[in-house]
């Protein structure tokens, strides 16, 4: 008796859920599918917010998904394939590396779905070799971001400084990380030839790994002058190691992303600076532009969103107009 009553209630709830889902999926303009990396990193969280706000403001139907970590490459591919089942009109994807979503994007392109490379994770050469024609790529100029990091570091240390610098790269094989590290290294060489990069190691976007790398390099080079990390998560890990070694304030630590944790750390006087990307703006502009493209307008192949160096002074003055997009 009890069992059959339970079954009926479960059944009724299930049917109600299906009907509700059906009503919500009113496909006038079609659905926009958004695939992020992991929402655990506030950077991607902010970008996700930007995409959602952009879609809501434009009155679009969308569904957003993420995977459990920055390294779940195959899982992201599987999620991507499953998203195609819903036949979206656009797929806005932040690929974990330059190749893991290729089969899914190939299928999407054949189905005539607009593809947006969110944050420039795809390699244009590989896309060309695979005959995948994406609608556009949007992101910060990562080479420029690295260069801005170098410029600020030289500002702090002086162009005739001599000493050791540590570079902590991103996930092995990721284009974004490579561009930032390279941008930093090139500009640093131009501006301050006396500063030597004693180590450039992959931190895999992981706070813990970056902390360990910093500890090891500090042991080897106790007079380390500066650390550049390819993202804030890793920079924050490095900062903790620096303070743990009682060198807080002696080492210039610069991250990239400008996420909320980094902003807090800069205001507290721990992290020196972060080259803020404006992920919220990137997300919003991605949606606006893909909507325009689907409506038939011309949209550039590569949309660059500027980056902003956040320091304690900039944050305290609060005058910089782009600060509203730093979330």
């Amino acid at each position: 008796m009890t069992i059959s009553t339970k079954m009926t209630t479960v059944g009724a709830a299930a049917i109600a859920a299906v009907l509700a889902a059906g009503a919500a999926n009113a496909q006038d303009e079609g659905e926009y599918g958004i695939l992020m990396k992991t929402l655990a990193n506030p950077f991607w969280g902010a970008m996700g917010e930007g995409v959602e706000d952009g879609a809501e403001e434009a009155g679009l139907d969308y569904f957003i998904q993420a995977v459990e970590s920055d390294q779940a490459a195959e899982n992201q591919l599987n999620v991507c394939n499953t998203m195609l089942q819903r036949e979206p009109v656009a797929m806005i994807t932040a690929a974990i590396n330059s190749t893991n979503l290729l089969p899914c994007l190939s299928q999407a392109e054949e189905a005539g779905i607009a593809i947006v490379d969110l944050d420039g994770n795809l390699d244009p050469e590989i896309l060309a070799a695979e005959n995948i024609d994406i609608t556009f790529s949007i992101g910060s100029d990562n080479v420029q971001a690295g260069a801005q990091g170098a410029e600020y570091m030289v500002e702090q240390l002086g162009s005739d400084a001599t000493g050791s610098i540590l570079v902590i790269e991103g996930l092995a094989g990721n284009v974004t990380g490579e561009q930032r590290a390279q941008g930093f290294a090139d500009r640093l060489g131009e501006l301050a030839p006396g500063l030597e990069i004693v180590a450039s190691l992959p931190g895999d976007w992981d706070r813990g790994k970056a902390a360990n790398i910093t500890n090891d390099i500090l042991t080897r080079n106790p007079n380390l002058l500066g650390i550049f990390a390819a993202n804030d998560g890793m920079a924050l890990g490095a900062v903790e190691s620096v303070f743990g070694a009682n060198k807080g304030g002696d080492v210039v630590v610069i991250g990239v992303d400008g996420n909320s944790d980094a902003v807090q750390s800069i205001q507290d006087g721990r992290l020196t600076a972060s080259v803020a990307q404006l992920p919220y703006l990137v997300g919003k502009l991605a949606v606006e532009n893909v909507q325009a493209s689907i409506a038939g307008e011309d949209v550039p192949d590569r949309i660059t969103v500027p980056t902003l160096v956040l320091t304690q002074e900039v944050l305290e003055a609060g005058e910089e107009p782009m600060l509203e997009f730093v979330k």
Partner: protein, 328 residues
Amino acid sequence: MPMTDERLWTRVQSFSIDQLHIRIESLIVLILLGALMAFLSPFFLSVSNFMNILLATSTIGVLAIAATFVLSSGGLDLSLGSVLGLSGVVGAAVAVKLNAPMPIAVAATIGAGAAAGLVNGLIITRAFVPAFIVTLGMLGVARGLALVISDGRVIYGLPDAMVYLGQGRPLGIPMPVIIFVVTAVAMHVLLAYTRYGRHTLAIGDSENAARTSGINVDRHRLSLYVLSGALAGLGGLLFATRINSGDPTAGITYELTAITAAIIGGTNLFGGRGSILGTMIGALIMGVLQNGLNLLAVQSYYQQMAIGAVLVFAVFIDQWHVRKESRV
């Protein structure tokens, strides 16, 4: 008439175990789960979605087959994911950097896996270091080696013939699915119907009894780890050809997922019981769960919770049976 129902149910269960080598409960769970997902999402019941489920399950599925063999013998292989990554990189490097023809590259991929398995097996059987430790060490060594060979980047651009293995769709069925199913059937026959399979289960059930009855336990164990490594290599081949590149970070944490699938399918963690068909059902339960929740756009964190719950539930059912059977 409760008596007759119970007898009928017991007969169904024994038939299932004896003839099909699977626990009927896991099959029922799979069917119910499928029905639930079909109910909840209009996109679930379609041929292309089923192909997606099988495709998503194929890499883990091959690893789960490896895990089934090793677990059945009372062993453990924690290096499966790293060996998958290493094999993919080796195959890609041989194909792209050495410009080798496709059959050589494929052989290199599976061979790299088998070689890693051989190292595992030799240390376990000759140096008497526990399997947990040896394969844990190989987990690190293989991953590091993959990063060294690839210099940390993906090796892109495999030859077309090789890419076909991952992206071809003869008769609309993805090649990895075909390879996975064929492998599973072959391995099921090996484990359930051959002397090799019986010896594997015997060693897991009681190593001393197996040794006394004349089985060369060490040699058999060694062959199991080589087989496990080769299957991990096959998994590496399937994934690398799907994305047309050797990715040194492929397969991270896969060994745990593979073991989970094997256990959900009825393999005993401590050895003595295991079936490939059961493992496939276990892998499909996880695949259906993930696919269904993806279609509903549920975040993957909940998926992980769901899989953890299913795992504990599956072992509970299993243990309940074992206790019932051991009651005289």
